[in-house]
Assembly symmetry: C2
Homo-oligomer: 332 residues x 2
DNA sequence: GTGAAAGCGCTAACAC
DNA sequence: GTGTTAGCGCTTTCAC
């Protein structure tokens, strides 16, 4: 049913290796053009495609990459994934995209699977800082590993300058005159959450002040909503700052239900600018946030991994003050 | 550096085929337990994993599936992809997830790539109805093809009952008393857009009326926003119905900028209930929409493809009247 | 109950 | 310039 290299060779009246040479453009120079033509004709006539498994076995290379993120339905990670995949595709690599669902056990299973698939590299956004063992096993096998967005000690990472950006955000808000800010942080085991909290604290403390309160969320809409409700009932916050936009959306919702308005009654800020596509910005123009160049993060991570550069990289971010996008839109 | 089956065999003092039998649980019954133990020990000690390429070559099966969607950053398709992948993973299949970016040429390139990867099946949300040729080539090669969400004649599909659901939506809105409804449709070459428009028309006409106007959008936020602006300036609509939620979000934004309020001044409806995760519903409780069980769509499509059932399937949908989710939340 | 041997489809070193 | 040949790592038929 399916043509093999031998059938192509027979039909063209040549040996299999000649066909192979044509396919891989090997000694295209030293080959009689008419031979090449005959081979190409046979390939076309038989609709021949090389069997990848045979190539991989023979070449001892898979040209495959694994991408493992905590949640592909989260726009942030979807854009990151796309960045990685685009570079991989350009360079002739096949990407295996996996979704750990924020579950370290699923993460471990997928790493196992990627190992079994003999990927040459893995680009990973880890669920936490736990299982370096699974990663070390990959490295021991010669698989290149590059972390994205979140750090784990001992592995290279391409990440945003979360701490610096968060400090800048804090300074911006202090400049607007807020004095009783409550911070909703993210999961303890995630470096981005920690960095953002630290950076924000840096800013507040350098002014001699401190945060009115810090609560821990889970980077989800619900957890932002619940935390904000609590804050609005008990604290006398003049601003609520969430460690990511998803939680900030929850805050906005809670503020709205309380009959308050942003920024008149209270300030609200997020982080990571989940929108990237226009609609969330349009829906929530009052949100102050920080843009993380997540697509570029994916591209850089893939490039470095493929180029064999095993060192880390920090990407710069952009502060998006509330209201900006609306203004831009109106001005166009 | 990496162990092969022969090394495992030598270390266990058996022949390679015995190791293979253990790995694949073949004649586990007729095997001396101590032999099996010795083999398992060697596997563990050498951290052995079979080379997939060799297995695939020998077995003449890849256990790989292709998933090709127009935009993985769109939550709708991300959830669909996840549904497919979950079933594939459960059954020991590897998924190759691809993103055509709504571009028929990229779509063709990815189909090519999947063919080269020797996938056993392709689950596809086509960009349009154009290139059946690429699909036919796959089928001719023995690759199973299952469409999702959007139809192309001649191929099986798992889709929502868009026409029926849209009719129900129309009847619901008519029941609320709207009389001058303007419809924003989707791209002409996409069956879902066509079906939704037809169904909505069915409803309005069965009451002896007709739509005040029909405009064509591109299923994007921007196109919904722009169309709504036009409508609000020229038509005297009492309701705007968009063929998907993304455009409906654009409509809501335009309505807001116009200083109008939903549903007091104007009704707004969407389709496909993009939220699925709580946050969009929370942010936009006033939107009336139709829930499409898109994760289940993915699971069903994968199951049917893997089970060799090459017939189509329509899934039922659920009407979500505006305001419902807020009410539910408050009640909890 | 286990082993020997062939071969899946391809590539590359070496012939000529 | 092109062909011959060996072998990548695995599974499976057929011996015994």
């Amino acid at each position: 049913m399916r043509a093999t290299i031998r059938e192509v060779a027979e039909r063209a009246g040549v040996a299999p290796c000649t066909v192979s040479r044509v396919l891989n453009g090997h000694d295209a120079e030293h080959m009689r053009p008419e031979t090449k033509e005959r081979v190409l004709d046979s390939i076309r006539e038989l609709d021949y495609t090389p069997v990848r498994a045979a190539q991989r076995l023979r070449r001892q290379r898979t040209h495959a990459l694994g991408i493992l993120v905590p949640d592909i339905t989260n726009l942030y990670f979807a854009l990151l994934t796309r960045g990685v995949e685009s570079v991989a595709f350009e360079r002739g690599f096949t990407s295996l995209i996996c979704d750990s669902s924020h579950d370290p056990r699923r993460e471990a299973r997928y790493l196992e699977m990627l190992l079994a698939e003999d990927v040459e590299g893995v680009l990973l956004v880890p669920t936490g800082r736990g299982d370096a063992s699974a990663l070390k096993r990959l490295v021991a096998r010669g698989v290149r590993v590059m972390l994205m967005d979140r750090r784990i000690v001992g592995f290279p990472v391409v990440e945003a300058d979360n701490r610096g950006a968060s400090r800048a955000l804090g300074e911006h808000l202090l400049g607007l005159g807020y004095e009783r800010m409550v911070y909703i942080s993210g999961p303890a085991e995630v470096s981005t959450a920690e960095d953002r909290l630290c950076g924000f604290r840096d800013a507040v403390r350098s002014e001699g002040g401190d945060l009115a309160d810090v609560r821990r969320g889970a980077f989800t809409f619900e957890s932002g909503f619940d935390a904000a409700r609590e804050i609005l009932r008990h604290d006398k916050a003049d601003a609520i700052v969430a460690a990511n936009d998803l939680m900030a959306f929850g805050v906005l919702r809670a503020v709205e239900e309380e009959g308050l308005s942003v920024p008149r009654d209270i300030g609200v800020a997020g982080f990571d600018h989940v929108p990237h596509v226009p609609y969330a910005t349009f829906l929530r123009p009052e949100l102050t946030t920080v843009d993380v160049p997540v697509h570029e993060m994916g591209r850089q991570a893939a490039r470095r991994l493929l180029d064999g550069k095993a060192d880390s990289l920090q990407l710069a971010t952009t502060l998006i003050p509330g209201g900006t996008c609306i203004a831009r839109r109106r001005g166009k």
